[in-house]
Amino acid sequence: VVKLWYGVTSVMLAAYVVMDGFDLGAGAVHCLVARTNEERRQTLAAIGPFWDGNEVWLLASGGALFVAFPKVLAVGVSGFYFAIFLVLWTLILRGLAIEFRSHVNDALWRAAWDFIFSLASTLLAVFFGAALGNLIRGVPLDQNGWFALPLFTDFSGRNPVGILDWYTVLVGLFAWAALAAHGAVFLTWKTNGAVSARSHALGSRLYFVTAILWVAATLATIKVNPEIFQALTRRPLAWFCLLVAVLGVVQVFFGLARGAHLRAFVGSSCFLAAVLAATATCFFPTMLRATTDPALTVTAYAAASDPQGLRTALDWWVVGFPLAILYFVINFRLHRGKATAAAEGHGY
């Protein structure tokens, strides 16, 4: 049941990255692919009905972590204190940018929110990548099982480690490229006209960058956390995930080349989900890797709630999860078709 909850938490986190990833990515390329007010309202209309629901996957993943692995939540979230608040403040500004921008018909007001929206989306993509990098590299757990990470130390990736070092920044850049590319592919599919054409061009270029950075980040991981690759040899599921990831990238290029934009978007989603799934599979059962002393590493088994509580949580989770999927299906169905800017005074 511990393994199951590790899986549930990973699936929800992957859902967050795929879902919020497309609106974060759309934000990161917003100012590049949409130049006029009308075009910018078009990209906002494409993500407006979805961004809030997408972001709930982050809260729901946090909730899954809370109920299943409270000790990881307590130690991990307090240890990343600064990074968490930077993410939260950026999320706040970005949400307001989407919701407030088109309320006021004023060029300065809108330019300011466009800038905040793009910058916040870009920074969040980098932050989330860096967070993943930190988990893979490990954190300086002390004898009592706690840690506090400074934002940066000497960027070497060796003790004393900081949140930002060469490795985590590299993963952050990979995340930025991957999410921006994912967002561009989404906009190619969901919009039409100039926005779709520019997203198409930018998306295929960004996917080249993503593929290169993916290889670079993977090679760097061998240096930072060799255990992950030792696990790879024993876990067929990880091999399957890597295969899906490669096929996903191929689908993106084929889909974009042949004008099958939905296929490209599905390929891009598979790529992101599969990369995360492969990482989670190889990482298990570690949840917080200690850079200080391997004996201090926190595993899923050590951090989990009691089995009875986990089974109770599973009872309501199997009811709630399909409901959440149902709401997404309804929302996507009702907003099917190409997104267009609504009349002034209405919509995003």
Partner: protein, 447 residues
Amino acid sequence: MRDALLWHRLQFAFTVIYHYLFPNLTMGLALLIVVMKAMALKSGDERWNGVARFWIRIFGINFAVGVVTGIPMEFQFGTNWAGFSRYAGSVVGHTLAMEGLFAFFLESSFLSLLVWGERRLNPVGHFIAAVALFVGSWLSGYFIVATNAFMQHPTGYAIGADGSLRLADFWAFVLNRWALMEYAHNMLSSVVTAAFVVCAVGAYYLLRGRHSEAAGRFLSVGTTVGVIAAVLVVFPTGDRQAKLVARYQTPSLAAMEGRFESGPMAPIVLIGQPNVSARRLDNPIRIPGMLSFLAYGTFHSDVKGLLAFSPDTWPDNIELLYYSFHIMAGLGTIMMAIMVLAAILKWTGRLARSRWLLWVLMLAFPLPYIAVTAGWLTAELGRQPWVVYGLQRTADAASPSVHAGTALFTLIGFCGLYFVIGVLFLFMIGREIAHGPVEIVAEVARG
């Protein structure tokens, strides 16, 4: 560590009070919007849709600020209160995770359809979107109140092998009697808030002689729902809630009333200043016996004073707790009086001509916000010095790895950010009210 605790508490108090200003309105307003949309469906009168449309725009702005200021709340359990999360996470994690799964997904998926989707949906579909927001936000309220109720009066738990809590009885935890009463009291106060806000805007338009037709509808929905909620929030829910405090948090009741000595015929205090170092209440005006009666049902019941308890179980801010409780109770009584009067005049058709009462209604909208904030301060200060009543002390709940300099840095950051959000929010709400409901109706008809 001790001084970091102060900043943790201030940051959480500030961010949660600020956050709750928004859901406090939107939960109640969601109910009023459902009522307005139901009136439109039932009567076929397009003007009800115009009224609903105006309030949906106000709702949308409030909801957006509520969403973004709500995200930090969930994370602060981990960042600032890691000791609590580690100790009680296996229990309270259930309600917090269920809130995301059952409430947030529902709300967030239908929000855009409610605010911008009227032309995408048929009238019944749009009504369903309003109901979805109502159900989602009220479910969300329940999960949070149930979490808080566990901290006030823990039920359904067991102590695990490592000393932390684990869930023993799911239903005893979720259907905690404290949660049921606290929920009823809290949701009614949210409805009171929405009713006062709707009435205030209606009164403002009538006094200015603008949008009079819509304003009449605001006032009729606002006073009808408002009078019911304003009475129920005091009795039975407020009364029952106080009885639970008397029974399970006896030192808190004593502190709320500034009562140090024990004994029968305990008076209720209308006004006075607690003087904790001298162990007495200065300049008191009292009604004898009322506290005994309200807390335990007879005038001769013994109500324990603080001196009957060890000082290390006293709430640590008795003065603020005392004032919070009295402000909540006093404003609750005043609001009930205003609403009863307004409803009687509305039903007899005289409200639109009673300019003095319209002035009162227009200016009264801050009162429910103040009362609700004071009510939550009463609940949370009354729970001290415990984070989980009787089980874990607040001093043991903070994150051991976060020092005062870090905590104060983020508190200052929140102050700055939330000040800017407050200014933007007021600007946008001001625009909507200045714009009014009529022109929006015209625009939609054109589009």
